[in-house]
Symmetry: C2
DNA sequence: CCTAGATCGAACCGATCGGTACGATACCAG
DNA sequence: CTGGTATCGTACCGATCGGTTCGATCTAGG
């Protein structure tokens, strides 16, 4: 059986399946750590199919990162929304979600930030920037709801904590509870901003 | 003149010169972004010489990263020591130094953390871990001198801020003053820790 | 039934990769 | 003067890279 997959049946279906399969491989091995041939073999797809869908390895990478950013952003937002109305609870929920993520077996840091560190060119850097911008938007909403005097500045401080604890959780074994520590720090900053306002 | 360089005169001299020249290239282009041949050409050294000194590209990378970690650690420590006795001033000096670094033209994030994001294997990951451990030691000294109830936890929160603001400064153009914001956050945490103690 | 398109596996491309080998040259220690 | 060593430039190695092409195979739509 030379062609076991459904062929013409999936216009965007194949594309989504490729992205889904390629995502963990590129994440675990690094963008330059795995070749196109191996990628194709792993997802049971020929090179020709891959190149018609994505044009190049870079195209695949961009699609993978875009999907990843979208997915994790929605996931974080869901965590916030299920934390009630109190801004402090919502903020805590962000770092609780991060802590859970950091504890997962295959955790290797943020895929977007790692990608930008690997290919420090325009596409990956822009994508990481947009990713952080989305994160900042979520945090700014919380800061605004909390009535901070300068919600933008507070949200950016939280962004630094979110980013930093993810990197530390990945690269510094000596700090096991990075997200938990960052959570306390974020709440302290929130309390200080409220007291100052 | 086929051999213009001093030959037997430099046992560790050549090694140091190679490291010094290779450092900015590997930093700017990424570990996988430049080949051994190009590296050798850039520093006017033959491949044979490079491989006798470092054994492999990985060996060169490790030597470069080790030297870099040592250098930046000493630089940060010097900044702290020239900031007087007051812990708050020393803490501020750390982030002032970071802000200056982030503003330099070729800034591309922390070389150690970038390397660990690229080659997520044992050597680079361990090196990044030791690098963060050195940073943590410096911060813990300050936290201890400040009389914090839990100096280790406070220092780790500062470590998250230091790491986070460096990544954000590199990858998020929407947060220009990341180090300055992190500095304010760190001082707020210090004040809160003192008030709580 | 038949055409158009999607897919497959595999062969193939030039380029580059990390790493080695070689002969020649220059220096230093004895 | 001589022998050991460090370096040079270059050629070379096998492997892998990203990317293209091709004929065979299958399926959906007309």
């Amino acid at each position: 059986m030379p062609v076991p997959k459904g062929s013409t049946l999936d216009p965007g279906r194949t594309r989504a399946a490729i992205i889904e399969t390629a995502t963990p491989i590129l994440y675990e091995r690094g963008l330059d750590g795995v070749g196109v041939a191996e990628l194709c073999a792993a997802m049971g797809v020929s090179k020709e199919t891959l190149y018609r869908h994505f044009g190049s390895k870079e195209g695949l990478i961009e699609a993978v990162l875009e999907a990843r950013s979208e997915r994790v952003t929605q996931w974080l937002r869901a965590a916030v929304e299920s934390a009630g109305e109190e801004p402090a609870d919502q903020l805590g929920a962000v770092f609780d979600a991060l802590a859970q993520w950091h504890g997962e077996p295959g955790f290797r840091g943020c895929a977007l930030l790692n990608a930008a560190a690997q290919h420090h060119g325009a596409p990956e850097l822009d994508m990481a920037g947009r990713h952080l911008e989305r994160r900042l938007g979520l945090l700014a909403e919380i800061a605004t709801r909390a009535g901070a005097a300068d919600p933008g500045a507070l949200a950016r401080q939280w962004l630094v904590l979110v980013t930093g604890c993810t990197v530390v959780a990945d690269q510094h074994p000596g700090t096991p509870g990075a997200a938990r520590l960052a959570r306390e720090a974020a709440l302290t900053l929130l309390a200080a901003a409220r007291a100052g306002a």
